[in-house]
């Protein structure tokens, strides 16, 4: 519905409603990559990422988006990942970010969620 009959319409809430976020895929990801949740959001990965200049790639944000049900945003950022491995090199927690990217590409993005 949400018809724009008066020249304005009801916009859906921009808030993340965790009650409605389906965590099944993320949990699947965690089984492959338990380190996915060890991120402490330091931002090293984003700062060093060559793809950040093109698609705003940040594996930190990707992980956050996936946990908050914002898959599309994550996929968009990931689309320019070159798998160069710089983020893996700089991660202070030793998270295997390259494998994360590959695992996300495998687990997520099945036709129905794309």
């Amino acid at each position: 519905m949400m018809e724009n009959i008066f020249g304005f319409s009801i916009s859906p809430s921009s808030a993340i409603n965790m009650d409605k976020v389906d965590r099944a895929l993320f949990e699947e990801l965690c089984r492959v990559e338990p380190d996915a949740v060890r991120c402490m959001a330091c931002g090293s990965c984003s700062a060093t990422c060559p793809a950040a200049a093109f698609s705003g790639m940040s594996i930190r944000k990707v992980l956050l988006c996936l946990q908050r049900g914002k898959e599309k945003e994550a996929f968009r950022m990931m689309s320019n990942c070159m798998l160069c491995g710089k983020c893996t090199m700089v991660c202070p927690r030793g998270i295997n970010t390259r494998r994360l990217v590959l695992s996300i590409s495998r687990i997520y993005g099945k036709e129905d969620t794309k």
Binding site: I16, M18, P34, D35, V37, R60, R68
Partner: protein, 338 residues
């Protein structure tokens, strides 16, 4: 004659100080307002980072202070300053003359009701860190026991770093306590999802960071960076928590079965009241003011009066114990110099 040292407060700092004073051959007197020793720690269950039972610590300390004079259920009625000493009148009528007073008056937990928006005392599902420790100890709390707990939230910094709550300081131990309690709750409710709402995670101590990564990786505890703005109740009697996920830059809300407020540490009113009898200064953080905060944290500006433990600021258990020992040493060198 053995030198008398009056210790105000029978918490762990007071007990440790008393035991060390006994070791050095002095005669400590502990004045405790409540009916039991051990202070806050006696109400707690296990201590980070090694999950040491709090009861063990209290019982060991109590055991070691058997030789001390201990007055329970006793308050300080007034203190008179004499020429070189102090005359202390206790509520039980006894009066003591001493040259040395050690304040181990500790802290109070911030009254979570004051953060009205979190609904402590209004919503049945909202408890504090203190309540939770007690539940770990007794297993009795109608807000937790026998309920189906699927989602649990922790709110860090309740009454800490909050000028509106009149405490702009960090309470230091709540971050690690929240992680400890979250892990313990996850062990009790393995299927529960646990969400910690934090502003900053300040995990400064030995092995605290390990604890944090363990909580993330092994216990799957979620951390959301953002202060909870308000808590409300839905029609099913669950609480809805709103915050901003500052890392995502978006508001976030979640429905929870239990919300634990990490009440911060504030100076106890009794501390300031007793300190007031001696006109001891209070620091800008509301805790008792040491003669300086680097070299003489255990000394007050007044001769013969010393501090140990959380009366001068939030401290962990090992820090409190270490400070008690250091205060005793300070007293010992004062006495020896005479």
């Amino acid at each position: 004659m053995k030198e008398i040292v009056v210790i105000i407060g029978g918490g762990i700092a007071g007990l440790e100080a008393a035991s060390k004073l006994l070791d050095l051959g002095y005669s400590p007197i502990i004045v405790e307002k409540s009916g039991r020793l051990g202070g806050h720690v006696a109400r707690w269950n296990r201590l980070f980072p090694d999950m040491t039972p709090a009861a063990d610590i209290v019982s060991e300390l109590t055991e070691r202070t058997k030789g001390a004079n201990i007055f329970l259920n006793t308050e300080i009625s007034f203190i008179n300053r004499l020429r070189d000493s102090y005359n202390i009148k206790l509520s039980n009528g006894i009066s003591i003359n001493t040259s040395y007073i050690l304040f181990t008056t500790g802290f109070s937990l911030f009254e979570a009701e004051k953060k009205e928006e979190y609904g402590y005392g209004v919503y049945d599902q909202v408890i504090t860190n203190g309540d939770l420790e007690q539940w770990f100890n007794t297993g009795e709390d109608h807000r937790i026991s026998g309920k189906e707990i699927g989602h649990i939230g922790f709110v860090h910094c309740v009454g800490s770093r909050d000028e509106k709550a009149r405490n702009s300081q960090c309470s230091k131990v709540c971050c690690i306590t929240a992680i400890k309690q979250a892990i313990e709750l996850k062990e009790k409710f393995p299927d529960a999802e646990i969400w910690c709402f934090y502003m900053d995670l300040r995990l400064f101590g030995k092995k605290f960071e390990d604890f944090y990564t363990k909580a993330q990786r092994d216990y799957g505890i979620h951390f959301i960076r953002g202060r909870v703005s308000e808590v409300s109740e839905n029609i099913e009697g669950k609480v809805i928590v709103k915050a901003e996920d500052t890392l995502a830059g978006k508001p976030i809300k979640i429905t929870l079965d239990l919300l634990v407020l990490m009440s911060g540490m504030v100076c106890s009113q009794d501390s300031t009241k007793t300190a007031g009898m001696l006109s001891l200064p209070v620091d800008s953080d509301g805790f008792l003011k040491s003669s300086d905060n680097v070299m003489h944290i255990t000394s007050s500006p007044k001769n013969g009066i010393f501090y140990a433990g959380a009366c001068t600021g939030p401290k962990t258990v090992p820090e409190t114990l270490a400070e008690a020992r250091s205060a005793v040493l300070e007293i010992h060198s004062h006495i020896s110099r005479k």
